[in-house]
Subunit: 453 residues, 2 copies
């Protein structure tokens, strides 16, 4: 809350320090104040629509020029767009975050340690979050909204291609925060890649980094910081078609998981098939893949069956194909001898994201779901369901394949931790340590903390 | 689950790989199997008592020789001891962990996404935990018990001084696991400091490192690994005595927090006192500190008052004293102008462990508890309560000052994460993506997952 040491620090360290100060100030922002700030953000963005669309147009123009030179993909240019329906959806997103229940202050433990000595565990913001995202500028608004809702301070680093769009979006959000009496430094923007490198060193001020983007971005971040990172690099999802799979369910699920939107992390990359389903189920699945224009990379055992599917593009697979995130209409196929082999394959080759078994046998499904060590384990459902909105979280901060803090699609609660509040009346430890007094340790779910805000 | 790539790997990488394989195998160990394994561990340790006490005697003899040469403290030698009551307490600890409810499989979310499409979030082990601890050999048994209970695999690194004790304890535990049909590699021991360095690189196999020991150990670990670390380096806890503090409660709490056991992380190091309590409350607290043989380091405003306390050892403080974890009978004292200054001081100088306000004013207490950004925020209770056993967790894996995963005293649940289980009946995403179908997102707390184990 003071800047007395700020004379000798770098610009980026100053950004991080201001974020920490803002995060501390956010601790006193009530539910109503944070929701009012989101309302102000919504209205300011609406009021600045023309200027935002114009800045976005400039980004798009520059991007189209790069595309014509071949140095930017058309998909990326498309993702830059903020006009029309996308603008409205972005504003709706702010309202929808405002309408979510306040996650801050939720009490997950209420326990009487002894007479007059009451313990509570209460949800609170993590503090300072740094989110590094690529290209889509509406992500800046979504993330800022989630951060304000959860009383965190956020440092945003967007893609270079969306620089002008991000700049005006964040400036509009900050002006709204000023008007709403919430610290504007609760949302800050950092522009260049060089600045990211320096942000990664701010262990004192940044509590969590969430990279949202390419595999290489996530790896770069993870390899270059001591700050906890939440996210996922790979999404190598598998579908295991069991001996007792229903052929039509198998076909529908494999085609949906592979082809409904292949460029995303929850799309399936590998098809494992039980040897006893090879002649009964695989031809049906192969026909579906052909209709969806999927090319297959087949092992020796599955190749003859797939070769017999009219029109299906089949190549022989190599071992590396089973560790590859294709993100396009290609799928590696492998025959396994048993459920247990399928589990072993997935645990060794997958990325711990989402894996599915297709079977009519309930006990096989239970075994698969217990033994596959992934964030999502599915039975007879497409891996594409692995998404915060589809899970009903209202918003998503990312998908985590880590095994601490949060796993799988992460909603608002991924931006929260808790603190313990203990209320006594002069209680000291000495009489408990020497045996004079004993703890009662009675859970008291009916007793809630009084939280000042 | 195979060792095909093990020919080219180091001994430590092989340890880590075996731990990963064991953690996967633990996924199929039922509640009863894990509790039976703990029973077997208890019985084996009891059966091996003479050999364990003999090995411990050898460690103690070597330590006493080092102590006589002045290269080991007597406190450390004392902490090595495993005989008598300590042995019995160690065995009781195993039984008490066995009697805790099974944390694995607990369902924290049950939601109907649509007809026939049911989502569950189910607690599961993190996987492979590495715990690095110092001197006290019974910690090996406690940690191994918690790890077995939570279906994790653990790699233990104990202190050099307890080498023989740790070796026989872990070998006894492993033989019990073999007899109980739980993979023995779920508990492994690593002996040397050089091996620790290599363990810190095993990002592929180790999911979480928990250092339990000195500040320098924790810093070394945190500075030298990309694996998530849970724990705390410093425990700089403060007591803020408010303008409306009850003098006797203030005295009791300050003395207990500082002097009841000064060598631990939840002991208080700093006393902040409101200027209006300077003449009324501080003399009473000072008298208590004198009786407890505490030396004080006072700022200019508090020094005259403390100097007037008969027999109290008072020195002038320097700024560094307010960032120091004394771990002995010394305490820094500072006068503040307001509650808000106290909060700012704590957030800037403290370590986010546990801080307390002493006041009779409820709204000041609420403000303090909301604004102090620490794992524990206390009102009229000694900071020494910050402990997993005192919170009623039955067991403690450590105290975390991090802001992700787990914060404050961490019980068994700190060794758990969750996975999402989705049960469908051939459900695919396409009709939801094109608007044909809509999600229902109804919470269904009565519907529980069937878990195979």
């Amino acid at each position: 809350m003071n800047g007395s040491e700020s004379s000798k620090i770098s610009a980026i360290e100053a950004v991080a320090q201001r974020a920490r100060d803002a995060s501390r100030a956010m601790l006193s922002a009530s539910t109503d104040e944070r929701n009012a700030a989101l309302e102000a953000v919504h209205n300011s963005l609406l009021g600045a629509k023309d200027a935002i669309v114009a800045a976005n147009e400039a980004d798009k123009k520059a991007a189209r020029e790069l595309m014509e030179k071949g140095s930017l993909s058309s998909a990326l240019v498309k993702r830059l767009d903020l006009a029309g329906k996308k603008f409205d959806a972005m504003l709706d997103g702010v309202k929808s975050v405002a309408s979510l229940p306040d996650p801050v202050g939720a009490c997950s433990l209420s326990r009487k340690l002894d007479d007059g000595l009451q313990l509570f565990r209460v949800a609170c913001p993590i503090g300072v979050i740094c989110i590094i995202f690529e290209s889509r500028p509406e992500a800046a608004v979504q993330i800022a909204s989630l951060s304000i809702k959860s009383a965190n301070a956020v440092i945003l680093k967007g893609g270079k291609e969306a620089e002008k769009s991000n700049a005006i979006l964040v400036e509009t959000i900050r002006s709204a925060l000023r008007s709403a009496n919430v610290p504007e430094d609760a949302v800050q923007l950092v522009a260049t890649r060089e600045e990211v490198r320096e942000l990664l060193d701010q262990t004192k001020y940044i509590d969590l980094i969430i990279p949202r983007g390419s595999n290489s971005l996530v790896r770069y971040i993870s390899d270059n910081t001591k700050i906890p990172v939440m996210g996922h690099a790979d999404g190598i999802c598998s579908i295991y078609v069991d001996a007792k799979a229903d052929p039509l369910k198998a076909k529908d699920i494999v085609v949906d998981a592979k082809a409904q939107y292949p460029a995303v992390c929850n799309a399936a990359e590998t098809l494992l098939i039980h040897k006893n389903a090879l002649e009964t189920v695989l031809p049906v699945v192969g026909k579906g893949l052909k209709e969806a224009n999927v090319q297959v990379l087949a092992d020796d055992a599955s190749k003859p069956i797939l070769d017999a599917v009219p029109g299906l593009h089949v190549e022989a697979s190599s071992p590396g194909d089973y560790r590859t995130e294709f993100l396009e209409l290609r799928m590696a196929v492998k025959v396994v001898d048993s459920l247990s082999s399928a589990v072993t394959h997935i645990n060794e080759h997958g990325s711990g994201h989402t894996d599915c078994i297709v079977t009519e046998d309930e006990s096989s499904a239970q075994m698969f779901m217990a033994m596959v060590d992934s964030a999502g384990v599915y039975h007879n459902a497409s891996t594409r369901f692995a998404d915060g909105f589809r899970y009903g979280f209202g918003a998503e901060v990312g998908v985590s394949t880590h095994r601490t803090h949060a796993r799988g699609p992460v909603g608002l609660e991924g931006l929260l931790i808790y603190k313990y509040m203990l209320k006594g009346n002069g209680h000291i430890v000495a009489p408990y340590a020497n045996g004079e007094k004993k703890f009662k340790h009675e859970d008291t779910p009916g007793i809630k903390p009084v939280i000042d805000s």
